[in-house]
């Protein structure tokens, strides 16, 4: 009985935290990310193989009473197993750990969640143990608790709880995976995030390209546009409420802002010139875009509210794309003013433009890491390869080696780069992820062909 009281106290704690937030809001755990202003991050490429041997047991989450919910009609017991599966997949797919999931582990009882049967897990050579529970609340929402234990030391490393609407049950699992990942790696979380991309179907010469979104693990997939007009290059707004993208809706390439809540969209810059390559500023107040006038492409910025555009580049070459530094003070972009595509940096107002890529070949599609310490780009030397460099254009490292890899986008924590890969001849496009060591590369499953991934920040 005493055990139960302790558990109830634990459950109540997260509820109390959430009572102050809006209904349906997910808690934002206090950030325990290391201060990443400088220092620690310049040498941010750690050797992940050290983690590979770390056995993490993730048994099915327990429940106080098996109740059917909108999240899982079979009940919270079945949901508890699904939660553990999602956490296991998160931790496994990114190559950092070797988790063992609920399907090959005994299921702890509800009271065990706060006091693990250590001998059980020691016998299985588990070094770490993730336990949790899911409980259906009277108001229809779910409470999910997540606990990380060090089996060898027999102590608790971290715990967190969240109250979510049933439709967001996967977010609770991603939050738990983020908690474990952050605590064990020292890195910032990233699983609880979404990806916008272009879904591609049909033969190479008549390919249909639709705007689509999904969770970071590919779940909750949804098509946004119907494919009648070619859609390209989406980017989530920092608050996830809007997506800016290119559409051929009125014949010429134009940039639209699509509002996810209302399903409506509007033109960003109303004129007769083609506009493309849209980007958000980190504060979500500006849209950076490229516009061709008489065949000459320059980079402009305009307030998200609309109004007059401001031209930032004026070279006779193609100036295109762009990505803000995390503090919004600088923009890295692509220009062929030297005769071939190369990477340049300028101040956010367009001043002080200078080339940073001097390592041979062409360099395109630069994307500033959310941590500020690296710039990912497409390096074209025969084949297209994903590479990273420091913002001074030095320390170039190739992360991939394939026929055509293009358009890197960063995980919110700056540890993983996502990009799209085209197959030779068929042109089939698929999404891939690679970590900063270049060793852990994997394909992200999508229902159809996929290109132009854009990874949003950790969900608010």
């Amino acid at each position: 009985m005493k055990q139960y009281v302790a558990l109830i106290a634990l459950i109540l704690a997260p509820v109390a935290v959430h009572a102050q937030e809006g209904a349906g809001a997910l808690s934002v755990p206090a950030t325990n990310a290391p201060d990443d202003d400088e220092g620690g991050l310049s040498g941010s490429v750690t050797d992940d193989s050290a983690w590979q041997d770390l056995g993490i047991a993730i048994p099915a989450f327990a429940t106080n009473a098996n109740v059917s919910t909108a999240a899982n009609t079979e009940g919270t017991a079945a949901l508890g197993r699904e939660l553990a599966r999602v956490i296991t997949a998160d931790l496994r797919n990114n190559g950092l750990f070797r988790p063992v999931g609920p399907d090959s582990l005994p299921r702890p009882e509800y009271p065990e969640i706060t006091s693990p049967k250590w001998s059980n897990w020691q016998a299985r050579s588990a070094e770490m143990l993730v336990q949790g529970y899911v409980r259906a609340n009277d108001d229809g929402r779910l409470t999910v608790g997540c606990y990380l234990y060090d089996v060898k030391l027999q102590n608790e490393l971290v715990r967190e709880g969240w109250v979510v609407p049933p439709s967001d049950w996967r977010r609770a699992a991603h939050k738990c995976a983020d908690l474990v990942y952050s605590r064990l790696s020292g890195e910032s979380p990233f699983f609880d995030s979404k990806i916008a991309y272009i879904a591609e179907t049909g033969p190479k010469d008549r390919r249909i390209k639709r705007l689509a979104i999904m969770d970071s693990d590919g779940a909750n997939h949804r098509f946004i546009t119907n494919g009648q007009a070619t859609a390209l290059t989406p980017r989530y707004s920092p608050d996830y409420k809007q997506i800016v993208y290119l559409s051929y809706l009125n014949g010429n390439p134009s940039i639209y802002i699509y509002d996810i809540g209302t399903g409506k969209q509007r033109l960003v810059a109303r004129n007769n010139n083609p506009t493309f390559a849209p980007r958000w500023s980190p504060d979500g107040k500006w849209i950076l875009y490229s516009m061709a006038v008489g065949g000459n492409t320059d980079i402009y910025r305009v307030s998200v509210q609309g109004g007059q555009s401001e031209r930032l580049t004026d070279s006779p070459g193609i100036d295109v794309g762009g990505s803000y530094s995390p503090d919004g003070s600088k923009i890295v972009f692509e220009s062929d003013r030297s005769g071939s595509q190369q990477i340049y940096v300028m101040n956010a107002d367009g001043t002080n433009q200078r080339r940073i890529s001097f390592f041979g070949g062409r360099a395109a599609t630069p994307e500033w890491s959310p941590r500020g310490d690296q710039i990912a780009f497409t390096h074209i030397v025969g084949n297209f390869r994903i590479a990273v460099m420091t913002p001074d254009g030095k320390n170039v490292r190739h992360l991939t080696d394939s026929w055509q890899d293009e358009a890197p986008t960063w995980a919110p924590n700056g540890r993983i780069v996502q990009f799209f890969r085209n197959a030779r001849n068929s042109g089939e496009a698929s999404l891939w992820q690679v970590d900063l060591t270049g060793r852990n590369e994997r394909r992200l499953p999508t229902p159809v062909g996929a290109s132009d991934p854009a990874w949003g920040p950790v969900l608010p």
Partner: protein
Amino acid sequence: MKRLVSLAALAAAITVAGCSKKAEPEQLPPPPATVETAAPRPTPTPTGPVPGSNADFMAQMQGRSVIFFDTDKFDIDADDQAALRAQAQWLQRYPAKRATIEGHCDERGTREYNIALGERRANAAKNYLVSLGVDASRINTVSYGKERPVALGSNEAAWAQNRRAATITID
């Protein structure tokens, strides 16, 4: 008779020049349905293309409705000039007709850059037509970047066919 001979010689010269072009596609791209390259008819019949229609334009151009570019280039060379002269003549014959020039690229460029490059190519073609006296307001440009290839392989021959500016007149 002499005129005919010199005309034939000129035609031969053009053909030779065409063959010696830098990256001339070995064969013409399979035309999209809307850009049918009809076989030239010895005598126009009522069932042939309506004069001044896009079908007529395509039939008259005999492949010269499309010009081709080198990798990452947008300059108009001698062959392109000959093709654009033929286009300009047709457009001047039908001054009420408008045209769209589509700029395209091969797949070996990044997506956004290729949209800019295709726009450059379409504009280069447009500017040349304007220099020949075609009113600029009659010509629209649109870039499809690498999104609409006509040759589907991943080899130099296919890429050469895809680096193009295609003129389509608006019926």
